[in-house]
């Protein structure tokens, strides 16, 4: 089961290592982790996407809550939140293939942000699932490099994660 956690933490040295340490120590697997500051500069928000059964998620939430700098942990409910991930994907492109790649970009609503003699670079801001589709489409052309930010997520409507 894949799940998404939103974690508010005090913005102090070592917080990230405390959180990532907790995952590795208790052998929970992380798919992605993204951090950034919130409207309150002393508070950061971490989005973690991970895999595990109900027992693991529940344990994880509780263990995270035990960390002193962790202010709040919320499991986002499937279908009730928006998630996005930014990716930059550099694809091999001979001049003959360039047009096909442009078509894929158009079809998937991706941006082309760099074109060079032998490469085309895509910028894509979507869910992790859609990003995977784009990657699968581009694979046959030869992907040189991928950089992904990891998923960030926010509740739909007026629900929110506050301290």
């Amino acid at each position: 089961m894949k799940y998404t956690l939103s974690i508010l933490v005090e913005n102090q040295a070592g917080v990230l290592s405390k959180i990532s340490g907790l995952f590795s120590r208790r052998s929970y697997n992380i798919d992605s982790l993204a951090v950034g500051v919130t409207t309150d500069p002393t508070v950061s928000r971490i989005t973690v996407v991970a895999n595990g059964d109900e027992y693991v998620v529940e344990q994880l939430e509780k263990q995270l809550n035990k960390l002193i700098p962790v202010i709040k942990v919320k499991r986002l409910i499937e279908g009730e939140f928006i998630s996005r991930e930014l990716s930059l994907i550099k694809v091999h492109s001979s001049s003959t293939k360039r047009f096909e790649l442009l078509k894929i970009a158009e079809l998937m609503n991706a941006k082309i942000v760099d074109v060079a003699a032998s490469t085309v670079t895509f910028e894509y801001c979507e869910t992790a699932e859609k990003t995977q589709i784009l990657i699968d489409l581009l694979k046959p052309y030869g992907i040189r490099e991928i950089v992904r930010t990891g998923t960030v997520a926010i509740d739909k409507g007026k629900a929110e994660v506050t301290a």
Partner: protein, 542 residues
Amino acid sequence: MISGADIMVKCLEAEGVDTVFGYPGATICPFYDSLYDNTNIKHILVRQEQNAAHAASGYARACSRPGVCVATSGPGATNLITGIATAYMDSIPMIAITGQVRSDLLGRDVFQEADITGACEPFTKHSYLVEKTEDLPRIFKEAFHIAKTGRPGPVLIDIPQDLQENEIESFEYPETVEIKGYKPNTNGHLVQIKRAVELIKSSKRPLIVAGGGVLSSGAKLKLQKFAEMTQIPVLSTMMGIGVMPSDHPLYLGMLGTHGRKSANSALHKADLTIVCGARLGDRAIAAPDQMGNKTKVIHIDIDPAEIGKNVKTTVPIVGDMNNVMKRLIENIDGYTIDSQWDEEVKDLKAHYQSKISTFDGYVEPRTLISKLSFMLKSKAILCADVGQNQIWCANNFRIREGRFLTTGGMGTMGYSVPAAIGAKMARKTRDVVVVCGDGSFQMSLNELSTIAQNNLNIKIIVMRNHRLGMVRELQDKCYKGRHSATILNDEPDFVALAKAYGIDSAEVSSNEEAEKFVKNIVESDKPFVLVCNVHPDTPSIL
């Protein structure tokens, strides 16, 4: 103007600390210098930093206040780790203070730099690497608050030398703490408590399993009262020993791999188990994950993460044992257990009355420990080490109003002697006795020097079987009796060794002799080491 080091001392004073255990070195020198003319805080110089942490643990458990240990950076700090980890696993409130290299040199791998907050991350409840002298009062206030509230645990404060030397305008100790992410829930949800009461009333064969949380929350007498009101029988975990007087008619003893058969078999028959302040690790219940299938479980714990971790729970109650017990007592109105269950339990207790076999020319440790209980004052503190000696104590020491200190969570050999030093410093008028094995004694016998230097009245009973007995026993059971690295032949003469430290000592080979010595030494106010020759085939349990 006031220096960081003076502030550290003042913070400790503000927290009412009267004793610290430590070992100096360059980067903690400013603090030691401030301590030099202080008359409110006594410093006990241990002989290895690990023992400073164990002593702080013994101190904390004996007087229910955080214990404080101090070490220098680098090797001093890393030596503390085992002690800190032990306190973490045993949920003991502790403040560990370490010196650190100058803040401008941090991260350059200079002499005696060690990332101690990083290294201790998995075994501290929280840690601080101090960045500014101004932060010290707030950090100390928070550290003590965190260590002693909620589920107790060790908090580490790592302080670069220059921040101890820096001077700031003035010192003011904060009165309150505000930590956004730390608000332990102590009350216990009333709805859950009502559900628990209903469950208890509808049960036929309820049982209480009491753990260390009952002792650390100071809810011992409340739990006793609840058990007496309802007549529900009580088992304890290793850390929970002392929750009930050992000879209380409702007490069945310690459960688990090394526990009493009557206790384990009662657990199998129960239809409701009320788990109080215990995590129920794998040594307490062989297959804790299956327990919830056979019996309903009410789990009361201050740490929400413990509930549902090892045992399936029917009614979870997060809260301080004191509050929860009080409410259970208020709400249970007149319920008492079925007489049939009462009889079954009494039968179990009688059925498993143990008959102990003895070896001529040796001390029988279980009989001795049981006798010892009544030669000590009723509030005696017994510190047991790890190994067979620990199991002998756990099952045979007849505790009355005193304490049984051992490391049930971590099982760190060498715990007992330094823990006794801490306990004695906290409770000077109580009898403090150590029972350890010959292996574990040799892990901390350097502390005889601390005992001698401070003339601490601690009696040490070494159960010498010339074996790492408990591991040897395991090898007999699971490794075809191949005693790989568990034989301690050619041991030193412990009596001569104790005397070399200036501590009187004797060796005995029978219970009569041993009892005669015990009778005499408990009268004296001097430390003593009694070496008991125990037959290597004496088992942990029957």
